[in-house]
């Protein structure tokens, strides 16, 4: 039982961070119907951004995470302008391939420059024990940061003018254009925020896990599962999806060998896509 509690806490804390990564993907999907296959490499870039800023410039890792998130916004806008804008109205195959092309470019440059040997950031905040549970403070801070990011995104989407524009474009792009919403700018901004969240989650992960340039792929796959759990295009659902996935990752190792985790995750993924494509929290179609 003690082991279950410890494992569950670990999973839950990670779940928040998974949720933020997935939120970026689901935002992009919801606003422009694009499945962003360059999500994983951006997460990895977030990890390496923090690594470089912390190791080379001696920046505090959490400060570095914020800088990396800001750079993520810029990167997203650039990716949108280069690869996505031209094919935004083309069939899904085009956007899938265009974003995958960006994935290949980033991974290619990344492996050439950083190689695929694992890196880690020398950073710890110590641990505390509460009964059977050992809390790693880096993970607690990451979970809190993830919550803050979710709250921030929610407020941004609900209360600010650009946020309202984003929701209007997600709802009906041509109608929004007729109402004077600058849709191209809003699409670019949404893509930027999506990659910002990816880079941000990558940065947070890098404070407690070792990583390589290829690590993002794992989190990209988790993001797919989470996005489907929470409902495509539903950012707050993504946080809950992340928590569900985190709990599963905490519980499955108690019942069967850890290597079965991906099998369970992806079977769940396909079942949910098939039975409730709008996600666990979406309205029934």
């Amino acid at each position: 039982m003690d082991f279950v509690l410890a494992s569950l806490t670990d999973g839950l804390l990670l779940g928040f961070v998974y949720g933020v990564a997935a939120m970026g993907m689901t935002l992009i999907w919801g606003v422009m119907d694009v499945i962003n296959l360059s999500h994983g490499p951006v997460i990895a870039l977030g990890m390496f951004g923090v690594y470089l800023l912390a190791a080379a410039l001696g920046l505090h890792p959490y400060l570095a995470v914020i800088v990396v998130a800001a750079l993520g916004l810029l990167l997203g806008i650039v990716i949108y302008a280069i690869a996505v804008h031209r094919v935004i109205d083309a069939p899904h195959l085009s956007t899938l391939l265009a974003t995958y092309a960006i994935n290949m470019v980033i991974i290619g440059l990344g492996t050439a420059y950083f190689t695929t040997s694992p890196r880690n950031i020398e950073f710890t905040l110590g641990t505390s024990s509460i009964g059977p549970i050992t809390l790693l403070w880096t993970r607690v801070v990451a979970a809190l940061a993830a919550l803050l990011a979710t709250g921030g995104l929610y407020l941004f989407l609900q209360r600010t003018r650009p946020g309202r524009y984003i929701r209007a474009v997600a709802n009906n792009r041509s109608a929004a254009e007729l109402m004077g919403v600058p849709s191209t700018k809003i699409l670019a901004l949404s893509f930027g925020i999506g990659t910002l969240l990816a880079a941000f989650s990558g940065g947070l992960i890098s404070t407690f896990f070792p990583f390589t340039i290829l690590s993002g792929g794992v989190y990209e796959l988790k993001s797919f599962v989470i996005v489907v759990l929470g409902g495509l295009g539903n950012p707050v659902g993504a946080l809950f999806g992340g928590l569900i996935l985190g709990v599963l990752e905490g519980l499955i190792p108690v019942m069967m060998p850890t290597t079965w985790v991906p099998v369970v995750e992806f079977v769940l993924f396909v079942v949910i896509l098939r039975l409730r494509p709008s996600g666990l929290f979406g309205a029934k179609q």
């Binding site: 031209r86 470019v105 050439a112 796959l221 991906p262 992806f266 396909v270 896509l273």
Partner: protein, 323 residues
């Protein structure tokens, strides 16, 4: 004359495949034979995926699942059960076809991007399953006892035979893909690609047609997998289910021309040639993935119809011969 023109659509791709096959026979270099094998393997993967992706319009990121599964089943039969190669290849193909049939029942109702996402999930789930499945050796995989090759007159002869089988398989894929393209069944698939609801109204039984297109596109990678891992001598999950290879097959189709018979042949040849060039070039060696990515981006953004589609569009007369 008219007959000749209509059969050129099939003859041209066959001729191209035969030229690729003849190249190592002329030079009689083992390394050329290996290169030709790789190109033919790429063409087989791309042409079989084209039945689903090009004709039916369903984007699958899981094509390599069928390659891996067929490879594992075929390899298990040859290495552990001592079956001869050709029946093992056929059973590998059937196993993949069966998986596609069951999967098709489950996920072909999903449309567009949902289907694409589900195929990514299937790829990961099957890979993780094989990783944990002990009869297939789990994460270590299986290796072939060298004695198996003796039945075929030694390893050298076995490699040569594998090459001939590869040529034969590629020819069959090209012929089947042409037969589908000109048949009523294929016409139904094209209608589904353009507008699935409209196709159903016009009397295309979409669920059945999609399922059979999926099964047909899965059988060939299954057979190919069995052949490839027989030649390889060992099979492990990492080699059998590379997600990247699924995407490379899509790139080849896009490069050559989506939904055409000769497109995947041209695309497979072009892609492998370009990759060979990049890998051996001193400057590009380390960033070949980046260059391939840029190439893909340029195709997607500026010539989405691919080389053949562009030719057909630019020079309407070529439409008679290029299919």
């Amino acid at each position: 004359m008219k007959r000749l023109q209509s059969s050129l659509g099939l003859l041209l791709p066959i001729l191209l495949v035969l030229l690729i096959a003849a190249w190592p026979l002329v030079t009689s270099q083992a390394s050329d034979r290996e290169s030709a094998f790789t190109i033919l393997k790429a063409i087989t993967l791309a042409a079989s995926l084209n039945i689903l992706l090009g004709y039916t319009g369903y984007v699958s990121f899981g094509h390599i699942v069928f390659f891996g599964l067929g490879g594992y089943v075929g390899f298990y039969l040859v290495a552990v059960q001592n079956w001869p190669l050709v029946p093992a290849m056929l059973v590998g193909g059937l196993a993949s076809g069966l998986l596609a049939f069951l999967l098709g029942k489950a996920i072909l109702q999903l449309r567009g991007a949902y289907f694409a996402l589900a195929t990514i999930g299937v790829n990961e789930a099957v890979r993780a399953f094989i990783n944990n499945f002990q009869p297939f050796g789990g994460p270590i995989g299986l290796t072939m006892n060298f004695k198996v090759y003796q039945q075929y007159g030694g390893a050298m002869q076995a490699l040569q035979m594998a090459f001939y089988l590869m040529v034969l398989l590629t020819l069959i894929v090209v012929i089947v893909s042409h037969r589908v393209r000109v048949s009523k069944f294929g016409l139904g698939l094209l209608a589904i690609r353009e507008d699935e609801d409209a196709a159903e109204v016009m009397g295309v039984v979409a669920p059945a047609a999609k399922t059979w297109a999926f099964v047909l596109s899965a059988i060939f990678p299954g057979i190919l997998g069995a052949l490839f891992f027989f030649k390889n001598g060992s099979v492990e999950p990492h080699d059998a289910f590379p997600l990247a290879a699924s995407i490379e097959a899509i790139v080849m189709i896009m490069l050559g021309g989506y939904g055409t018979v000769i497109g995947p042949v041209v695309g497979g040849l072009g892609f492998q040639w370009a990759r060979g060039f990049l890998l051996t070039n001193r400057f590009f060696k380390n960033i070949q993935l980046t260059v391939t990515g840029m190439l893909l981006l340029v195709i997607v953004l500026f010539i989405p119809a691919g080389a053949i589609g562009w030719l057909r569009h630019r020079f309407p007369k070529t439409r008679r011969v290029l299919q």
